[in-house]
Amino acid sequence: MMNAPGPSSLPKARKDSESVIPMPGSPTRLQAFAGWARQPGVLLSLPALVVFLFGFLGPLLLVILYSFMPARSFGLDHLPTLENFVTVFQDSYYLSFAWSVGLALATTVILMLVCWPVAYGLSRIFRRSMILTLLLVLPLFVSENVRLFGWVLTLLNHGILDGTVRTLFGWEIPNLLYNVPVIILGMVYVYLPFTLFPMALGVSMIPESCREAAFDMGATRWQVFREVEIPLAMPGILIGALLTFVLTLGSISEAKILGGQSVIMIAHDIETAFTYAQNWPLGSALSTLLILLTGVLVIGLLSKLNIDKLLSRK
C-alpha cells in the first residue's frame, strides 16, 4: 500500500503466490477479491458509492416495492398486487404521462436548435470566453421558481410586455399566461443550460483537422455540418438531449407556475398521490413507470459512452 501500487501489480502478485502454494477449498477467489478490494481506487470509490446505494438506489427500489402494495397502505407487509397499475391505466393517468412525454420531446427539440449556435460559438468562436460562460451558468444557481416567476411578471396583464406595449402603442395584449406554449417556454428557459453545456463539450471534441480535410476535399458548409460536425459532436449532443428530456419529463414547476393547471404533469400527479391523497402505493406505481422510462433511456445511453474519452479532452 505504501507506494501506491499500480493497478495490476497487486492482484498479479497474489495470483503468482497462489499458483506456487495451492490452497485448500476456495480461498483463492477470496484472496483475489481481497487483493482487488485493497486497491486505492476501490477504497476511494466507497464513500460516493455508499451515498449512491443508500440515497438513490435504496429509495428507488423502495418505491418500486411500494407500487405492488394495496392502495392506501402504509407498509410493506401486505400481499403484492397489481391494482395500482390497473388504476393508472383506467383513471386517465396516462394523459399526464402523454403530456409529460410530449412536452419533454418538444422542449428537447427546440433546445437542440436554440443551443447549437451558442454551443458552437462558445467552444470555437468566442474562444471559451469565461465571462460568457459565467453569464450562461448563473441561472443554474438561481432557484427555478424565482426565474419562472420573472416570466409571470413579464407576461402578466399589466406586466412588462403588456405594460410596454400599452404605453408605446396603446394596444392591449390578450392574456399570455396559462396555456401550453407558455409552459414550453418555461421549460426551454429552465433547461437551456442542461442542453447547452454538454453540447458545447461535444463541439469541442470536433478536431479542427477533420473539418479542414473535409473542406479541402470540396465539401460544402452544409456537408461538413451534417457529415463531420454532427457525428463527431454526437456524444455531447446525446447527453444534453437525454438530460433535458429526462429532467423535463419529471418537472412540475413550469406547468404549475406558468401553466396554472392547464396541463397536469406526471410528477404533479405523483406529488398529489403522495401528499394530499395519502396514497403512497399509487404514487409509487406512477413513479415506477417514470423510473422505468428514464432508466431504459439513461442506462441505454450511458452504457455506450466512453466517459474517460469524453472528459479527458482539452
Partner: protein, 267 residues
C-alpha cells in the same frame, strides 16, 4: 486552435452566431430583470410601467425575523452540503479518474445516475425511504437529499481536474520518502485545488437554490426557495421579488468572486 483559418468559419455565419448568442442572453436575463423591477415597486401588485418606486420591501425583508430563520436554514444546509460533498467527491474523483481499477467504468456510470433523474420524484422517494428508517423530515434529511444529487455533480467537476493530473508527480514524492498524507497535503491537494474550489462553489450554489429536493424533505422547516414558492402561490407581497433579487445577487457575487479569485491565483 489558435490558427483557425478564417475561410472555414464564414464571416456571415459568425456574425449570426454572435447575434443569436446575444438574443439567448437577453432571453435568459429578461425575467430576472423583471424580478428586480418588481422588487422596487411601491404598490403591492405589480403594474408596469412602475409609477412610484420604493425600497420599503427590502427594509421589510431585512427586518423580518421569519425570513432570518429561513435564511439560516438555507445557509446551514448549503454549508454542510458543501463540506461533506467536497470531502466525498475528492475521494470519488480520484477513484473516477486517477486510479485504474476493475469496475471503474461501471462505477463512473452508476455515480452519474442521480444527475439524470427528476429531482421532485427523487425528493419524494427519499421522503418515503426516511419513513422506513423512522427519520422525521427536517433540515438534516434535506442535507442528505441534496448530497445524493450534489456529490455526483462535484465528483464530475473535480474529476475533470484529475484527468489533467500527472500521477508521476505523486510517485516522485513517494520515491523521495514522503508519507501518504504528506503527498496528499503537499502534492495532490494543491494541484487539484482549482477543481476542488469550483466543486465547492457548485455545491454551495446548487444547494442554495434548490427547491424540488428541499420541498419534500425539510418537513416543517423552510428554506428560502420554499418560502418564495409558498408566497408566490398564496399571499404575494413584493418581498418575494426583493428576496429573489437578493438571492440572485448573492449567487452572482459568489460566482464572479470565485472566478476572480481563480484568475488571480493563476497569475
Amino acid at each position: 486552435m489558435e490558427n483557425t483559418p478564417a475561410v472555414f468559419v464564414n464571416r456571415a455565419s459568425e456574425r449570426a452566431m454572435r447575434i443569436w448568442t446575444i438574443v439567448v442572453l437577453l432571453f435568459i436575463y429578461l425575467p430576472m430583470v423583471a424580478v428586480v423591477l418588481a422588487s422596487f415597486s411601491k404598490i403591492r401588485f405589480f403594474m408596469f410601467p412602475i409609477k412610484s418606486w420604493s425600497t420599503d420591501w427590502y427594509v421589510s425583508v431585512f427586518s423580518s425575523i421569519a425570513i432570518r430563520d429561513y435564511l439560516s436554514t438555507s445557509l446551514i444546509i448549503a454549508a454542510l452540503v458543501t463540506v461533506i460533498s467536497v470531502v466525498l467527491a475528492i475521494a470519488g474523483a480520484l477513484a473516477f479518474a486517477r486510479y485504474d481499477w476493475k469496475g471503474r467504468s461501471l462505477y463512473q456510470k452508476l455515480i452519474l445516475l442521480p444527475i439524470f433523474f427528476p429531482q421532485a420524484v427523487l425528493g419524494l422517494a427519499i421522503l418515503l425511504w426516511s419513513s422506513v428508517w423512522d427519520v422525521a423530515p427536517g433540515w438534516e434529511l434535506a442535507v442528505f437529499a441534496h448530497l445524493v444529487w450534489i456529490v455526483p455533480v462535484v465528483t464530475l467537476v473535480i474529476s475533470i481536474q484529475v484527468y489533467g493530473f500527472d500521477p508521476a508527480i505523486e510517485e516522485a514524492a513517494f520515491d523521495l520518502g514522503a508519507s501518504r498524507w504528506q503527498v496528499f497535503k503537499e502534492i495532490t491537494f494543491p494541484i487539484l485545488w482549482p477543481g476542488i474550489f469550483s466543486g465547492a462553489l457548485f455545491a454551495f450554489l446548487l444547494s442554495w437554490g434548490n427547491f424540488p429536493l428541499s420541498s419534500f424533505t425539510t418537513g416543517a422547516e423552510q428554506t428560502i426557495p420554499e418560502w418564495l414558492y409558498a408566497k408566490m402561490v398564496a399571499g404575494y407581497t413584493p418581498q418575494v421579488p426583493a428576496l429573489g433579487t437578493l438571492t440572485t445577487l448573492l449567487a452572482g457575487v459568489l460566482l464572479l468572486g470565485g472566478y476572480w479569485l481563480g484568475t488571480r491565483r493563476r497569475k
